[in-house]
């Protein structure tokens, strides 16, 4: 269950990142519409954020040594996106999937999705911690 939630979070993040990479001006426009970032930072954010999403998602799908790092990156991004959405004045769309995104990019839907994905990541973290404790108990040396 915990792993499934993490795979789901990674899949959403991967899809969102790839859609933004496909259309950089569209993503730049979406974040400009949010009116949260200062203009000089829009270019860098539009160029870098999608690749951080992809890198985090791939690490979350990878083997355990990379998984916690991927979880941290994806969780950090989700927290950042949630804060941006809460701070964005009167935004109706999050730009999470590029310039359009339909119902999935709606502000309320995005906030709910972020909370659910964060909960999934928390489940994964808890699962890993339990497994680590079990391994320690199983190998007390």
């Amino acid at each position: 269950m915990a792993r499934l939630a993490e795979v789901l979070a990674a899949a959403v993040m991967l899809a969102a990142g790839l859609l933004k990479i496909w259309d950089p001006p569209g993503f730049a426009l979406s974040i400009a519409r949010l009116q949260v970032l200062p203009h000089p930072m829009l270019g860098a954010a539009a160029i870098l954020v999608p690749w951080i999403e992809v890198a985090g998602a791939l690490a979350l799908l990878a083997k355990p040594p990379w998984r916690p790092a991927g979880r941290a990156v994806v969780a950090g991004l989700l927290l950042l996106f949630t804060a941006v959405l809460l701070a964005a004045p009167g935004s109706s769309s999050c730009g999470c999937f590029g310039v359009e995104g339909g119902v999935l990019a709606r502000r309320d839907v995005s906030l709910l999705r972020n909370v659910l994905l964060l909960a999934g990541l928390a489940l994964g973290l808890k699962h890993d911690q339990r497994r680590n404790v079990k391994e320690l108990v199983g190998h007390p040396d």
Partner: protein
């Protein structure tokens, strides 16, 4: 874990910079939307103008500048002789006084991140206006270059 997070971020930054350099619609790091808005204006049938064109038109005085920003911003400052036609009003069905159809128009809003002039231009073209241009860099570019008191 911190080291791996740093590796992931560094890899993402390297991939982002490389992919942007080779992407056919790659962005400028400092002005990400300028070229894209220009292309969209052309596609919509509008003539994109730069700051030098605007300076020339201001000198010649033949075109009518149309300010698509909110009225409160227009009140604070606008291009000389501009007419205020706020896109927000048009979008919400409160159509303000429209510019005459027999004069060439140059629309503008805040800057290259603002789409109001592009949308207003498209709306005017649909209503039979023929000679409509858009000052892509917008009021801020003119203000920073020529408008601010020295």
């Amino acid at each position: 874990m911190t080291r791996r997070v740093a590796i992931l971020l560094a890899a993402a930054a390297a991939l982002g910079a490389t992919s942007n350099a080779f992407h056919p619609r790659g962005l400028s790091w400092s002005r990400p939307l300028g070229p894209e808005l220009r292309a969209r204006a052309v596609k919509a049938g509008l003539v994109p103008l730069g700051l030098d064109d605007v300076r020339r038109h201001l000198k010649e005085g033949k075109v009518l500048f149309v300010d698509a920003r909110k009225p409160e911003l227009f009140e604070i400052g606008a291009l000389p002789g501009a007419l205020s036609v706020p896109w927000k009003d048009v979008e919400e069905g409160r159509v303000p006084k429209l510019p005459p159809k027999d004069r060439p128009l140059v629309l503008y809003c805040d800057n290259e991140w603002c789409e109001y002039s592009l949308r207003l231009g498209t709306w005017l073209l649909e209503r039979g206006y023929r000679d409509v241009a858009v000052f892509i860099d917008g009021y801020e570019a003119w203000w920073n270059a020529d408008g601010a008191p020295r």
